[in-house]
């Protein structure tokens, strides 16, 4: 039950936050004047006519970061429970296990480093 209540709190806060946003975006429709002008709603690009759409294929650099992030984030999520109980379960086994895990993680970074992911061509 307390766990469920935790989630109720989270949900409640999210709903309140979204409600705040919705109210705030509806209010100006009532109270703001509307501007006229032929190009009022056109996409802004320094006042010029844009050349082509903004929705194009994008550079692969960022995508690679996303991939390596997923690997790391999952591993970090694994690490947290281990570290929480690290103090209680102190002993050389735990230490070696954690070191091993970190060492493997470091190899991943070294690999990406070597592959030149961090230097944009």
């Amino acid at each position: 039950m307390p766990l469920l209540l935790d989630y109720a709190y989270v949900l409640g806060f999210l709903v309140i936050g979204i409600g705040f946003v919705v109210v705030n975006t509806l209010l100006p429709r009532l109270i703001s004047p509307k501007s006229r002008g032929a190009r009022a709603n056109d996409p802004y690009e320094s006042g010029e006519v844009p050349v082509g759409s903004a929705w194009v294929q994008f550079d692969v650099n960022y995508y690679l970061f996303a991939l390596i992030f997923i690997a790391f984030d999952v591993e970090a999520a694994f690490l947290f429970p281990v570290l929480t109980v690290y103090r209680e379960s102190i002993g050389w086994t735990a230490f070696i296990e954690v070191s091993l895990f970190l060492g493997l993680l470091s190899f991943a970074i070294l690999y990406a480093w070597k592959k030149g992911l961090f230097e944009w061509k």
Binding site: R39, E45, G47, E48, V49, W55, V56, Q57, D59, W120
Partner: protein, 545 residues
């Protein structure tokens, strides 16, 4: 005194063209040493020869005569004085005033912009020029304004034409964005400017991107075109002063200087010593102010906000001092032919004396705050590197050229006024990247401080005017060049002896410096574009004129 290579060139020219068409000129009176008239087809060959001798294309323009257009090429080289040569090509007028020349863009890429300008202003086409679009005027313009047959537009045409342009703009959007727009390719074009916080005015750079990487960049100029050259043709010589205050409003004193040198050269007069000293004094103070403004905005482009305020604070103090003499803050027209608008007030020199030590201390502050900042160094070192070859082919001058290790400074190399008698250095760097441009400009501020100190120590007393002068300039052609804060500022004047100029061509430094961007930007990241643009120190009205 033509140098050795100038003599080589002269003898080569003599072999290439008819002997009577090469004349040696007196640089004291006309600003050039050598003049040649070459055949229309031979200009590319002549230009190649000039390039081989280490000359850059200083300016390319045209003049409208009854029989023909005269295409005027000025070549100059880095180094001591006495090299500026003027080559003319005749482009006979056909029906409806059409004429054509031969493009030298394969030799000097900077000619692309010059030829486009000549095309749009005179209607002269260039063979071998594949981009004959308008440069400064809107694409749909139907006029060739610098032709003498252009007698102005009718009353109210500014509004009708503006409305037409607005209409075209809207239609352009509807074409670019049809109702169902799905585009899935990699061609990513981004307009930076004309309204953009870091293009310093109304420059527009059309970037072709692959992700964050720049594949290609095209500067598009003309958003601040104020028809200075045509305007001066319908004004008398005295009325042209305000134009020079507004061309480069950040370093207006240098432009005043250029015009004063030009007209004094044409009239053969010599201003009194006090005038010369005050001129150098205010010009150097103005140069410091200009570099300060550059430094502030440049760091703003890099995301450092605070130096902007520090620099502007110092700049305000300089403006206060200059305001004592001129009464203006920005767009000075303080110089007069053979003199000054008025003498400096008594409290100005003490004010400068009080300002200089304080400013030197601030320069040290900038060094700790900016020069040694790790992020700043990372953002600027090795970025936007320009090669000497690029600089030569594009006619780059000023601090950008000096950051390549070329100590070319007209105050030293083509001395005017009292600069030869002053003790100062021409700072250079070697890398040619954004960081070295920054270093050169900061050290130039220190050198300017040195000059100001020397001048106030030995400021002579005396007259600040030559009295009444004739209102017209003797018939002939004149060229003057001075070192502005951004580089070489040249004025080419054709006088028919009347009360107003027949043709006046302004050779502005940023025009060439910006043009070289096309070579520097590809391969940069979007963030570097901002750094490189900032490091070039552009003032748009000076480019667009």
């Amino acid at each position: 005194m033509p140098s050795a290579s100038a003599q080589d060139l002269q003898s080569w020219l003599l072999g290439a063209v008819r002997a009577d068409e090469v004349t040696e000129k007196d640089p004291k009176a006309s600003g050039i040493v050598l003049e040649a008239l070459v055949g229309r087809e031979r200009i590319r060959e002549v230009a190649s020869r000039f390039l081989a001798e280490g000359y850059y294309l200083e300016s390319l323009t045209a003049a409208d005569f009854t029989e023909c257009f005269e295409l005027v090429y000025h070549f100059n080289r880095w180094g001591k004085a006495g090299a500026r040569s003027c080559v003319r090509v005749l482009a006979p007028k056909g029906p409806d005033e059409t004429a054509s020349g031969v493009s030298i863009r394969s030799v000097y890429p900077s000619a692309v912009w010059y030829e486009r300008e000549v095309h749009e202003m005179f209607g002269v086409t260039f063979e071998g020029h594949d981009n004959p679009k308008r440069l400064l005027l809107p694409e749909s313009s139907a006029i060739f304004p610098l032709r003498k047959s252009f007698k102005g537009e009718p009353k109210g045409s500014d509004v009708t034409q503006s409305l037409k342009l607005i209409e075209e703009d809207r239609e352009g959007f509807d074409v670019a964005f049809p109702k169902t727009l799905v585009q899935r390719n990699k061609d990513y074009y981004l307009n930076m400017g004309p309204q953009h916080p870091s293009t310093h005015g109304v420059l527009r750079v059309l970037l072709h991107l692959d992700g964050e990487r720049v594949l290609d960049a095209e500067p598009i100029i003309g958003y601040s075109h104020r028809h200075h050259e045509k305007m001066m043709e319908v004004q008398n010589y005295l009325a042209c002063w305000p134009n020079f205050g507004r061309l480069d409003y950040v370093g207006a004193m240098s432009y005043n200087f250029g015009y004063a040198v030009l007209i004094e050269r044409a009239m053969g007069i010599q201003p009194p010593p006090r005038v010369e000293h005050i001129r150098v004094l205010v010009t150097e103070l103005n140069r410091i102010a200009s570099h300060l403004l550059w430094m502030g905005t440049f760091l703003l482009d890099l995301g450092g906000f605070t130096p902007f305020f520090y620099c502007f604070d110092d700049r305000e103090k300089i403006l206060d001092i200059l305001e004592m003499a001129t009464g203006e803050r920005l767009t000075y027209d303080y110089f007069r032919f053979g003199g000054l608008d008025r003498d400096i007030p008594a409290e100005m020199v003490p004010a400068i004396r009080a300002f200089l030590p304080e400013f030197k201390k601030h320069l040290r502050d900038y060094r700790t705050l900016v020069t040694n900042n790790v992020i700043f160094e990372r953002r600027t070192r090795g970025v936007g590197v320009m090669t000497r070859d690029t600089a030569l082919r594009y006619g780059v001058t000023g601090p950008i050229l000096r950051s390549l290790g070329v100590p070319f400074d007209l105050r030293r190399d083509e001395p005017y006024s009292i600069y030869p008698s002053l003790d100062f250095e021409v700072p250079t760097a070697t890398e040619g990247d954004v960081y070295s441009r920054y270093l050169v400009r900061t050290r130039e501020m220190e050198e300017s401080v040195k000059i100001v100190q020397q001048v106030i120590e030995r400021l002579p007393a005396g007259e600040t005017t030559l009295g009444k002068l004739p209102k017209n300039v003797p018939k002939g052609e004149y060229y003057s060049a001075v070192e502005s804060a951004r580089g070489l500022f040249g004025i080419y004047l054709i006088s028919d002896g009347s009360l107003n100029p027949y043709r006046i061509k302004l050779r502005t430094p940023s025009f060439s410096n910006l043009n070289a961007l096309v070579d520097v930007l590809p391969g940069c990241l979007v963030s570097d574009v901002v750094a490189v643009l900032g490091s070039i120190d552009i003032v748009l009205p000076e480019i667009d004129r």
